[in-house]
Every structure is written in structure tokens, then in C-alpha cells.
Amino acid sequence: MIGESIVRQAAARKSYRGNLFELYAWFFMRVSGVILGIIVLAHLMYQHFGTPGVAGIKWDTIVGRWTDPQMGTAWRIFDLILLIFAFTHGSNGVRYVLEDYVPDRAWRTLLKTLLFLVYLILLLAGSYIIFSFKTAI
């Protein structure tokens, strides 16, 4: 038993070195957490609790905001910020779960790649709609 320990000690299991990506990911989670605290609350207020309220919300409500001659662009920018921060924050959280609970390296890499692809496609699709939306009605 003791011999085993000594052998393990000699063959150092891993060399630990800097990982800037994790540092920035951590910092991003803190900053986006604060920002989301504010904008998600605002989103809830105007979308669900204010007028027209969760029952009265319709296609026209959203279209009306986005195509409003004065405030249209501001609404779109707000929604874009909400999309980017909420989706990036959430996806990185899922990445943390994969890092922690998928011990097999091949599986982890596969799942992280899939997650990244889904993230990228949905983010691009969402941004594209926000930028290009024109109403025909």
C-alpha cells in the first residue's frame, strides 16, 4: 500500500497550468449575471406583468414594438442584448455541467461540440431575425 503511494507520487498525475479561457468564462458569468438580473427583470415586467400582460400578448404586440418608427430600433437592440447574454450565460452553464459530470474525454468533447453548434446556430438565427424582421402585414 505504501509502496503504491510512492510510485504514484513519482509519476506526477498531471501538470497544472494556466487556462485563460476559464478565467474569462468565470468573469463573463459574473458580469452577465448582474446584467441579466436587471434586463431579465425588465423583460418580465414589460412582457408578462405590465400591459398588455401575459394573457393579452399577441403577435401584433411584438411586431408593433419592433416596427415602431421611434422606438423600434431600441426594442430590437434590447432584445438582441437579452438574447446574447441569456443564451451565452445559459450555454456556458450547461458546459460547466458537462465538464463536471462527463468523465469520458471523447464523450465530453463530442457533447461540448454539439452544444457549441446548437448555441451558434440558434444565436445566429435569433440575431438574424431581430435584424432582418420586416412586417408584410
Binding site: R13, R17, L20, L23, W26, D100, Y101
Partner: protein, 235 residues
Amino acid sequence: MEKSKVTLKIKRFNPEVDKTPHWENYAIEVEPTDRILDGLNYIKWYQDGTLSFRRSCAHGICGSDAMRINGRNRLACKVLFKEMGATISVEPIAGLPVLKDLIVDMELFMEHYRAVLPYLINDDPPPPTERYQSPADRARFDDTTKCILCACCTTSCPSFWAKEDYLGPAAIVQAHRFIFDSRDQAADKRLEILSDSDGVWRCRTIFNCTDACPRNIEVTRAIGEVKQEMLFRKM
């Protein structure tokens, strides 16, 4: 003082006979101010001499009798029976290989400890008297000097259970003790080691470590300070 009957439910494992650990009950009489360690000693001395556990100082300073008592990591010599119920479960700390009964192989834990260079590094020639440090500079890392390397924190950490390469709270506490020591010159080196994805970034701020620490070190805060220091040095 009035004695009362309690049952100690102990997780036993003998590697020469058992394939898996099993629970065994021991009925003993204790005073409310007896410690769990007294109960274990009583069992070992008078009921079952094969029961194995580590202890040395019996005063909460050597850190050898960390175990999971009623589901929480504690030092058996610092928990009184009156703080616990009539049935008390005692298991080895989790995440390290069990050698026998309540004794675990601490080698991995010590390996992580060594990985953070837990000693003073200062290449300046020693001054004729001492390396002066102001009381304020000393206070900066006072909390983390209290660590006794009992492993209560690291073995209560779900991130460590999930990945044994994670250096763990105890190693980070020990690194903190030197990173914020004004006499030390190797903070950069330690921060480099700790900024590994299995260094501080494996910490998800779960706070089990702070709850487990028998020395009341604010472990999660210390880890947070190390993360912050890394960020400030990069900005």
C-alpha cells in the same frame, strides 16, 4: 452527569474479507459532553478491537480524525454527543480510497497539497534579523493559516468527488496562505498552477467546504479571493 444510551452506526470495511463496506451498529452509554471520539475509543477498547480509525491529538489540532458524522464532515474529537441524535452514523470521508473502516488513503490529497508549493519562497538573502511583516500584512492571510490539513473540506466537495484531479479547497486554502503573504515571491507561479481548469475553476461555489471546516476557515471566500486575484493581475 446522567448517562444515556446511543447507537453508533459505523461503516465498516476490511479489505482482506469484504468486497463492499457494510454498516454495523454499536450500542454504548455516553455522557452528553462526551465526544464522538470517546464513543469510538470505547467501542475499540471494550467491544470490538478490530475497529480502525485515525486519531492522535484528540484536541482538534492534528487533523487526523476527520470523518463523516451524521452526513457531515467533522472531526470526531470536536463533536459532542449532545449535539447529535440517539443514532449517529459514522463513515469515512468521501472521495478518497478507503483502506480500512474509517481510514482513507490520504496520498491524493497530499499530492494536491504539494502541487501548490505550500512553503515560503523568497530568493532575497535573509536579513540579519527577521523578514519584517506589518501586522496589517499579516492579517491579510490570517484566516488561511488556521488550516490543519484534515481534508474535511476537500472530501465534502462535490466537484472533487466528480473529478479527482481537482486540486480541491484545502490545496487552494494553502496556496492562498502564501499568495497573500507579503514575504513570499512566488505568487505568480502558484496562480499559474491554480488557474488550470482543475485548479480554482473547478470550484462552483457550493459552500460545502466552508460548512465542513472544523477551524471555521471561510474556505469559499479564500477560493473567491484567489479567483479575483487572477483576474486583477490580468487586467
